[in-house]
């Protein structure tokens, strides 16, 4: 309890002498440690030599003779560089097109008055209610009809327009003082020039928040690429990892599964640990994904 007292020294005066909040804090610490166990096992199992045998596989104490064999095996069995490339192409492609569509639409809703503004706005809102994940069946048949089955473009296309992104940019653009635009108007700047040189540079924090949400969600997407992609060399990381896991499960090769999982999630974890604050605030703004 001394430790908890020390951690509680900057609590508001009112709660410093109460036991209940401290117990809640203690419970949270224990749960946070429990939350880390799968990650801990992943790290320990990755470095465990196969000579330790299956009975030591569940030990959370690291092996005294760590090895990189599992990482090498995972690297050789799975086609991870290819999966990384595919996922990177998918996420970048989606994000670049989204930047264009949400900037233009967000500007129209923020700064232009036009016939049918309210109904069209509700049309956008509907996308949030329709839960795109559930529309996989009709969208798969459309992708087949468009000749995009088994292509990365087919994986990307349904996400090119984003209602959430449009709302986010509309909010950002509305916060920019109109005086700036008026000045540019006097200088004879066209609509696109005004968006490009005034609105976009002043909304970079919103763009970065959107980029974090968009990339994380498409990096992790599984069901849709599983349906669209058939060729092994076009698999994204998630689909690749599931196939890899299936194969290694058959041979009871748990160290290799841990190593493969580690390779897939390491880039995300490292990026998160570097930009922690930005990630968390983006996720809070996202709300409705």
């Amino acid at each position: 309890m001394k430790l908890i007292d020390a951690l509680y020294k900057d609590a508001p005066l009112a709660t410093r002498n109460e036991i209940t909040p401290k117990l809640g804090f203690l419970l949270t610490i224990l749960l946070a440690l429990a939350w880390l166990i799968p990650f801990l096992w992943m790290g320990v199992a990755t470095l465990r030599p196969s000579s330790d045998g299956i009975n030591l596989m569940a030990e959370l104490m690291p092996s005294l003779k760590p090895t990189l064999d599992n990482i090498r095996d995972a690297w050789e069995i799975g086609d991870f560089p290819r999966y990384f490339l595919n996922t990177t192409i998918i996420c970048t492609g989606i994000l670049l097109v989204q930047f264009v569509t949400i900037t233009l639409a967000g500007f129209a809703f923020a700064r232009l008055d036009f016939a049918g503004k309210t109904p069209i706005f509700y049309l956008f809102l509907m996308q949030l209610m329709l839960v795109p994940v559930l529309l996989i069946v009709p969208n798969l048949s459309l992708v087949v009809q468009l000749g995009l089955y088994d292509t990365l473009a087919g994986v990307m296309m349904p996400f090119f327009a984003s209602a959430f992104g449009t709302f986010l940019m509309r909010q950002a653009f509305e916060a920019i003082p109109t005086e700036l635009e008026d000045a540019a108007l006097i200088d004879g700047a066209s609509l696109i020039q005004r968006i490009r040189h005034i609105y976009v540079p002043l909304s970079l924090p919103s763009f970065s928040a959107f980029a974090i949400i968009s990339v994380t969600s498409h990096w992790n997407d599984f069901l849709w690429p599983l349906m669209v992609i058939n060729s092994p060399d076009k698999r994204p990381l998630t689909v690749g990892l599931s196939v890899f896991t299936k194969t290694a499960e058959g041979t009871q090769d748990w160290g290799t599964i841990a190593a493969g999982t580690l390779m897939v999630i390491a880039p995300l974890l490292v990026t998160f640990l570097i930009f922690q604050k930005r990630f968390i605030s983006s996720f809070v703004t996202s709300g409705i994904k």
Binding site: A14, T20, L27, F114, I136, L140, M227, L241, T285
Partner: protein, 316 residues
């Protein structure tokens, strides 16, 4: 542009009223043109993959093929009837309801506990928040790969550490009575840190001086929680419940990796059923009917929550 308008006015004023209205309408459309052009790229993709998809689900649900190669035949509501009469679908709906309630309540409860404990910002609380948030970031497929070993019978992590406390070692993913609850643990582990963020944001709205005053008046921690904090968090609760429900219907990657809906359909969820009908049985009619029913249920729920949320100020 604005300088040219007065010159046109006398003509418009002398025209018959109907023509004037028409003229005003066309000029408004003309003025709207730039906005339409800006919206066009978004609207094309929304039309193809959202509204169009919705329309196609409606139509596809009305047709059926006798065999995968046979021509389409109009069957009206037969597909809907077939889905509602399919024990696999009704089973999936029941599973999904258990799954939704059984994941939402614990993860939201834990999220509230985490947020209350970690509301103050310092090095320790930031580290704990990060630890609890990590599972949110990783793909569900990766989480499933890790839990595959955690749930492994006899030698797995769970049996290794707590197996001795149980009368018999359960086959976590292989026992139809347990498997659904096992995959629920993964979901709770993955989502609690996400919902925690919304509660942390909501807690910032609770005024510190009111809390201090309540404490001086002798209100204990539970009284303050009940009468000050929870009322303040009501909108956050509503919001998080909606997100948790949507997640319960859309997150099924762990079913694909861990159980394939089994054993004996005990972990079959609605979206997995839709996938099976479309991709494994090539039954687009039945898959569309199931999609339609699920969408209708979710849209009703979301519309309800949007209406409730429209009445609240700010929030996440």
């Amino acid at each position: 542009m604005s300088l040219a308008e007065p010159a046109a006015l006398p003509v418009a004023a002398s025209a018959p009223p109907r023509l004037r209205v028409a003229k005003r309408f066309t000029s408004r459309l003309k003025a709207s043109l730039p906005a339409y052009l800006l919206l066009l790229p978004s609207l094309i993709f929304l039309a193809l993959f959202t509204y169009g998809a919705m329309g196609r689900v409606l139509i596809d649900a009305l047709y059926q093929r006798a065999t995968p190669k046979a021509p389409l035949r109009f069957v009206g509501l037969e597909n809907i009837g077939a889905v509602l009469g399919d024990p696999a679908f009704t089973g999936a709906v029941v599973n999904n309801l258990i799954y939704a309630v059984g994941t939402a309540i614990p993860s939201i409860g834990l999220a509230l506990l985490f947020a209350l404990a970690l509301a103050r910002t310092n090095v320790v609380t930031s580290a704990l928040r990060a630890a609890l948030f990590l599972p949110v970031l990783i793909p569900m497929v990766a989480a499933s790969a890790l839990f595959l070993f955690i749930f492994l019978p006899n030698v797995g992590l769970l049996d290794h550490y707590i197996g001795g406390l149980l009368p018999v070692l359960p086959n976590w993913l292989g026992d139809p009575d347990i498997a659904l609850y096992a995959i629920m643990i993964i979901t709770i582990w993955k989502n609690a840190g996400y919902y925690m963020l919304f509660f942390l944001a909501g807690l910032q709205a609770v005024p510190e001086d009111v809390m201090e005053a309540a404490h001086l008046d002798g209100a204990g921690p539970f009284m303050r929680l009940r009468y000050i904090i929870l009322p303040e968090l009501k909108p956050t609760f509503l919001f998080v419940i909606v997100i948790a429900t949507l997640n319960a219907v859309t997150q099924v990657d762990h079913v694909f990796v861990l159980t394939q809906g089994g054993p004996s359909n005990s972990t079959n969820l609605v979206l997995f059923y839709i996938y099976q009908q479309a991709v494994e049985h090539f039954d687009v009619g039945k898959a569309s009917a199931a999609t339609l029913l699920t969408l209708a249920a979710l849209m009703a729920l979301t519309a309800l929550s949007f209406r409730t949320m429209a009445n609240r100020e700010g929030g996440p």
